[in-house]
């Protein structure tokens, strides 16, 4: 089954000291940059068209076509243009950008340079989640190397194009992964989402036209330039083209990053991951982090692309596949996620701020077996009052695990009430589950 893997971004992760410029260039690094900058390529607009044609869609979760986002930048605006890379990866379960930046920061740096060139930005930022200090250091080292090698700074590759790249460490807030909150944070303010319009493409960072892209989206750009849009489009499905990193975690034998075309199924991925934990079966899973409604084994053969997952009532999101087997109490898992949202709600808008506070308490009560069946309707009604009413998508995301889990596992919630508490042995779901622990 290994032939379903298409290592592009992850291709060089196994190389010795893969994060160095030397190792990266030895594998052909920065040749895509040279190609894009060469006059015969056709200038920035040609880069934008190439990316547009490739069908690359944003890898940060929403799946907005990257080339189209770039073409929204008004080129007649006299203000400077900015590229901001969203590297504030904080979604529970999502763990693709940080390994990418750890293993091959130059892939991202090269992507930043090509993308900045395409939108005619002379300053770019990588906003990295502050807690991952080791990644910050790797990125800083890579940027230093790129400057020294003439890939960054004044007159890149002698073309007259100038680009400065700044690595900025966030201060540890989930909300700063929301692009406008990220911009506020980058400007030195308290990170809370901004009112739109104006959209960042018109008035983003420092009220100037700004493109904000996920790490994986930008890192995919060099390979598109190197191999062409058709090559990229040959992978994946009709509307979800290319390869992506699937982050497999939880109760599988070999959790990790699996790079494969869009449209692969979870069954295939679990096989690649060596199957479920010995002696256990799949119970539920998230397709793209905790903010995407959970799915069950009935969705094992669903193609993992934007359309199919959407049709199943969930979202592809960041392709953070958290796998839970039958030892896991869904109420417990959902409560943990809800507590995360409660802790990370920025406080700006009422439904998210107050709603997550309320949801967490109601769920905690249910987990302890206190309450009645009407509390489930109350939970669903709270979710309804949050979903689509909050200022940004964080509030919506907080409701996903609750409403989807009640949809699939209503009986299990009720079992907590009849059992007077959680009927599961919490130890049994742990990776270090002792012998004899039972579901």
């Amino acid at each position: 089954m290994t032939d379903t893997l298409t290592p592009v971004l992850t291709d060089n992760w196994g190389t010795d000291r893969s994060w160095t410029l030397e190792a990266y260039e030895a594998q052909g690094g920065y040749r895509a940059l040279a190609k894009a900058l060469a006059p015969e390529f056709g200038g920035p607009d040609a880069v934008v068209s190439e990316v547009k044609e490739s069908g690359l869609r944003g890898r940060g979760g929403a799946g907005f076509p990257t080339g189209m986002k770039w073409s929204f930048i008004p080129q007649d605006n006299p203000k400077p243009k900015y590229l901001v890379v969203n590297a504030d990866e904080s979604e529970p379960g999502t763990c693709k950008d940080i390994p990418l930046m750890m293993a091959s920061p130059h892939t991202l740096v090269e992507g930043v340079i090509i993308s900045s060139y395409a939108i005619r930005a002379n300053t770019a930022f990588i906003y990295v989640r502050g807690e991952v200090l080791h990644v910050v250091r790797r990125l800083q080292a890579a940027v230093r190397e790129a400057y020294a090698a003439g890939h960054l700074g004044k007159d890149v590759h002698g073309t007259g194009y100038d680009l400065d790249l700044i690595v900025h460490a966030g201060a540890g807030a989930y909300i700063c992964g929301e692009e406008t909150a990220l911009l506020d944070s980058l400007e030195g303010r308290r990170g809370q989402p901004r009112l739109r319009p104006p959209f960042p493409a018109v008035a983003g960072l420092y009220a100037s036209p700004t493109v904000i892209n996920n790490v994986e989206s930008i890192a995919s750009v060099p390979s598109i330039i190197a191999h062409g849009a058709d090559w990229f489009g040959s992978m994946g499905t009709e509307k979800s083209k290319g390869y992506v990193i699937y982050s497999l975690s939880g109760h599988v034998k070999k959790p990790g990053q699996y790079e494969a075309p869009l449209g692969i199924t979870l069954r295939e991925l679990i096989d690649l991951g060596g199957g479920m934990r010995e002696g256990h079966q799949l119970k539920f899973w998230t397709p793209g982090g905790s903010s995407t409604p959970i799915l069950t084994e009935e969705h094992l053969d669903m193609p993992l692309d934007y359309e199919a997952v959407g049709a199943a009532g969930s979202m592809l999101g960041t392709r953070a596949l958290q796998i839970f087997d039958e030892t896991t109490c869904v109420v417990r898992a959902v409560l943990r996620w809800t507590e995360f949202y409660k802790h990370e709600s920025c406080g700006k808008c009422t439904p998210c701020r107050e709603g997550t506070w309320w949801l967490a308490q109601t769920l905690a009560r249910l987990e302890q077996g206190r309450g009645s069946e009407s509390d489930l309707d109350l939970l669903l009604d709270q979710c309804e009052n949050i979903l689509g009413r909050a200022f940004c998508a964080l509030g919506d995301g907080a409701t996903s695990p609750i409403s989807s889990s009640i949809q699939y596992f209503r009986e299990e919630y009720l079992a907590h009430l009849t059992h007077g508490g959680c009927p599961f042995d919490p130890m049994a779901s742990a990776v270090f589950a002792p012998q004899g622990a039972q579901a």
């Binding site: 540890g172 807030a173 909300i175 308290r190 009112l195 943990r336 507590e339 995360f340 409660k342 802790h343 990370e344 709600s345 920025c346 406080g347 700006k348 808008c349 009422t350 439904p351 701020r353 107050e354 709603g355 997550t356 506070w357 309320w358 967490a360 308490q361 109601t362 905690a364 009560r365 109350l378 009604d381 309804e384 009052n385 949050i386 689509g388 009413r389 909050a390 200022f391």
Partner: protein, 852 residues
């Protein structure tokens, strides 16, 4: 006025009703046009939209482009579009459900303490939860609580558990006042308003959280949760430790803003309260009366709330032409002066020693006091009048007529501050009867030049309007010794000017390359200009030659009205020049007297000199504070030398103690009246309290006049107004422009500095007496000296300024842009004030450094 063109109108359908509104109108306000009130909390028409509370959700099935919005939209953030269809809670079940949902969320952590909350009865949350919420809550979990309250400043208190985090207060502070000392701290349901001090404030507050669930897994929170108070008892041990140190909450930079009280008024819940009003009253027990603020010449609309004959609080009125919905803290909180123990309640008459009396003041009846005053003034020889600056226009008119008909003199002056003959001529020729600039004009001006005028300190409402203007493109330029905080907040440009050097600085403006002076320019000159000889002439010339509009902004509420009613030695009521025979005949005919005195009178300084010299024997003095006068010592000497003094005052002062007859007069709350704004706009108001023993100045002057056999023809404010209307404004030739005074060249001795000074808004002024909390929010008295001098004084924390009248020691701060020969101190924030204790502004002082 221009009417909006048809093309500017956008037509949309709200709840099935078609309505056309101007472009860019927000849906929430367009809905008001069809009579639908969408509930709201964070929305405020004078603040930028934020969309935080989500209470105003509506359904938009068509955004005007044929497509609907997929989710309910916050109507306070969405501008109207042609063809848009909006369904509010009135017609859409989805919108109604969404609003009920938000209301329920808002209430889960809001305490049910309405019966003891100051806002109860006038609370937008209370009202809208009745109109757009459910009767019962489904919330059975634990509410978030905070220890209460915390002092945001000495005056402003915050009960965090009541706060619904609409961010109106923080947005007001940042967008309107420019004092962003408060900011949101923490996040999620623990988000709270705090003092903008990073570290200190956050530590101070997060220790006090109480946290019902107590099970936040993550390490970051565990760090603080050791000290949280957990009602669930899980971590009960550390709970009490955090709450035991109340001093923590007031550490750091306090919320020192001249406009902080507005945050209380726009708070949609009872989270913000003032030390002055907290727990004093219930809204439904109060009687509200619209009024005009008496603390500056801005004429701000206020609302005065009283209960059982006592003013309990004052709020901003809503007057888009003048103060919009904002007032200064002084206008809001400074009203206790009328309730101090030294308030005069009955007339006093001195038993004169020469008549065989004790020489003491004793209570007297009104008729006796009128008689004694009339006789005394008649016997004292030549008389003069000093009205002071707190007069309403009707009182000023009475003083003006009293001087002319009863005392037979033009020796009358409203200016209780340094002044000049040049200024009197300037006022007569350039200011009186004119209204060249309004508040709205400040917003449309391309450039506003301030000369000897610090709006934030001297006219707070002007400052707010100028700051608003500066945020939309108006350039503010200030001729001043250093960039004040107010100028910085207006993003203004400083033209550094030495004290007393304004004449040259103004003349040089015409050649300033960075400055375009034309009809789009407004020049605002402060009353302090009178202290610099030639400056007012220079500024008049500049306005004439460039076409710029000129406005004169006095500090005191009564000044402009007193000018209009002729409380000047060169003007009669209605702007009639005394030098003009036709004007004199006009007035004499109206008053039914043979003539009015034709010789120009003496100004305040001249009157003081003549009293001391014995040429003037009788003095009628209104609300004059001697330390405000150009030479306080000379004024004291004159008061002692006067043969007969009649004092009209609210409270006991130096003047009342020296007077022969003392009449208590009504504070503004007790009388109807009119203030005239710096623009020239009359602002009439009615009495708040009816207090029969508290009479306006004009009633007392009428009483003395009648005893003197020369009645004024009115006894009440209404009668005075009628007479003023009958007399009307002068339509003849204006007084000629001032002849430029001979300006002596100034020479500064070695090691001396020119003294600059103005009054800070909150200072030691007696009309701020009685509210200690407000006074604690005044800015510290600090001397500002040039950077070069500061460097020479190595390490000095204080400086002592010594002038010809004494010395004053203050903490010191350096200013890089200040001219090297100038120093500045606040005029009345320390001791008896600069004029009494140091020297006259514009004169030379020495500066000595020191440490404390």
């Amino acid at each position: 006025m221009t009417t909006p063109e048809k093309t500017d109108l956008v037509t949309l359908t709200i709840d099935g009703v078609q309505v056309s509104v101007p472009k860019n109108t927000l849906v929430i306000r367009a809905a008001e046009q069809v009579g639908v009130q969408i509930p709201r909390f964070c929305d405020h028409p004078l603040l930028e939209p934020v969309g935080a509370c989500r209470q105003c959700l509506v359904e938009i099935p068509d955004a005007g482009n044929g497509r609907g919005m997929p989710k309910p939209a916050a109507s306070c953030t969405i501008p109207v579009a042609d063809g848009m269809v909006v369904n509010t809670q009135a017609t859409s079940a989805v919108a109604d459900k969404a609003q009920h949902g938000i209301m329920e969320f808002l209430l889960i952590n809001h305490p049910l303490d309405c019966p003891v909350c100051d806002k109860g009865g006038e609370c937008p949350l209370q009202n809208q939860s009745m109109s757009n919420g459910s009767g019962e809550s489904r919330y059975v979990e634990q509410k978030r609580t905070f220890p209460k309250p915390i002092n945001i400043s000495a005056q402003i208190l915050l009960d965090r558990e009541r706060c619904i985090l609409c961010a109106r207060c923080t947005r007001f502070s940042e967008q309107i006042a420019g004092d962003p000392f408060i900011e949101m701290l923490e996040r999620g349901a623990l988000q709270q308003v705090g003092i903008f001090d990073g570290d200190g404030a956050e530590r101070g507050t997060s220790e006090r959280l109480s946290h019902p669930s107590g099970r936040d897994g993550d390490g970051a929170e565990r760090g603080t949760s050791e000290r949280l108070s957990h009602p669930s008892g899980r971590d009960g041990d550390g709970a009490e430790r955090g709450t035991s140190d109340p001093s923590r909450t007031v550490e750091g930079q306090p919320f020192h803003s001249y406009f902080s009280g507005n945050t209380i008024q726009i708070c949609p819940v009872g989270a913000l309260t003032s030390s002055e009003y907290r727990f004093r009253s219930r809204p439904f027990d109060l009687v509200s009366t619209p009024a005009i603020a008496e603390h500056d010449a801005c004429g701000s609309a206020i609302r005065v709330d009283h209960r059982r004959g006592k003013v309990m609080r004052r709020l901003a009125g809503n007057d888009p032409e003048v103060n919009e919905e904002w007032i200064t803290d002084k206008d809001r909180f400074a009203f206790q002066y009328a309730r101090q123990a030294d308030r005069l309640t009955h007339p006093l008459v001195r038993d004169r020693v020469e008549d065989g009396g004790s020489g003491e003041l004793r209570p007297a009846s009104w008729p006796e006091a009128f008689t004694v005053a009339a006789r005394g003034l008649a016997a004292a020889g030549r008389g003069a009048v000093l009205t002071g600056g707190r007069v309403i226009a009707e009182d000023a008119y009475a003083y003006s007529r009293f001087a002319r008909t009863v005392l037979g003199t033009n020796d009358i002056d409203f200016r209780a501050r340094p002044h000049s003959a040049e200024e009197a001529a300037f006022l007569a020729s350039e200011v009186v009867l004119r209204m060249p600039v309004t508040y709205a004009d400040l917003e449309s001006a391309a450039t506003v030049v301030l000369v000897s005028f610090e709006p934030e300190d001297e006219a707070g409402t002007v400052f707010l309007r100028l700051r608003k203007a500066s945020r939309s493109g108006t350039q503010v330029v200030s001729v001043a010794p250093f960039a004040s905080r107010g100028l910085t907040k207006m993003n203004g440009r400083l033209i550094p000017t030495e004290a007393g050097g304004e004449t040259e600085a103004v003349a040089a403006l015409a050649d300033d390359d960075q400055l375009t002076l034309d009809a789009t320019t407004v020049i605002m000159v402060g009353e302090r200009m009178a202290g610099t000889p030639g400056a007012l002439t220079a500024v008049t010339d500049l306005a004439r030659s460039t076409g710029a509009r000129l406005a004169w902004v006095p500090r005191r509420a009564g000044d402009r009205g007193a000018l209009e009613t002729g409380c000047l030695p060169n003007l009669l009521p209605g702007g009639r020049p005394i030098a003009d025979v036709a004007a004199r005949v006009d007035v004499a005919a109206a008053w039914g007297v043979e003539t009015v005195p034709e010789k120009a009178g003496l100004d305040t300084d001249g009157i003081i000199k003549s009293v001391t010299a014995g040429d003037i024997g009788g003095l009628v003095v209104g609300g004059v504070h001697l330390d405000d006068l150009a030479d306080p010592a000379a004024a004291r000497a004159a008061l002692a030398a006067a043969r007969f003094v009649v004092s009209l005052e609210i409270r006991e002062t130096e003047v009342t103690r020296a007077a022969d007859v003392v009449f208590p007069v009504a504070p503004v709350s007790d009388k109807a009246g009119t203030f005239v704004t710096w623009e020239g706009r009359p602002r009439a108001f009615e009495a708040v309290l009816s207090n029969p023993g508290s009479l306006p100045d004009l009633r007392i002057l009428a009483g003395i006049a009648e005893e003197s056999g020369v009645p004024l023809g009115f006894r009440t404010v209404a009668e005075a107004r009628r007479q003023m209307d009958e007399l009307g404004p002068w339509d003849g030739a204006r007084a000629p422009a001032a002849t430029p005074p001979k300006v002596k060249a100034r020479r500064l001795a070695r090691n001396k500095f020119w003294l600059a000074s103005w009054k800070q808004m909150l200072d030691n002024g007696p009309m701020q007496d009685g509210d200690d909390a407000m006074r604690q929010t005044s800015r510290d008295a600090v001397a500002v000296i040039p950077q070069g001098t500061y460097d020479v004084l190595k390490g000095a924390t204080h400086v002592t300024l010594t002038g010809d009248r004494g010395a004053m020691t203050l903490p010191v701060r350096a200013s890089a842009e200040m001219p090297e020969n100038t120093v500045w101190v606040p005029a009345n924030s320390s001791g008896n004030g600069v004029l009494a204790d140091v020297a006259s502004p514009g004169s030379a002082v020495t500066v000595k450094g020191g440490t404390s």
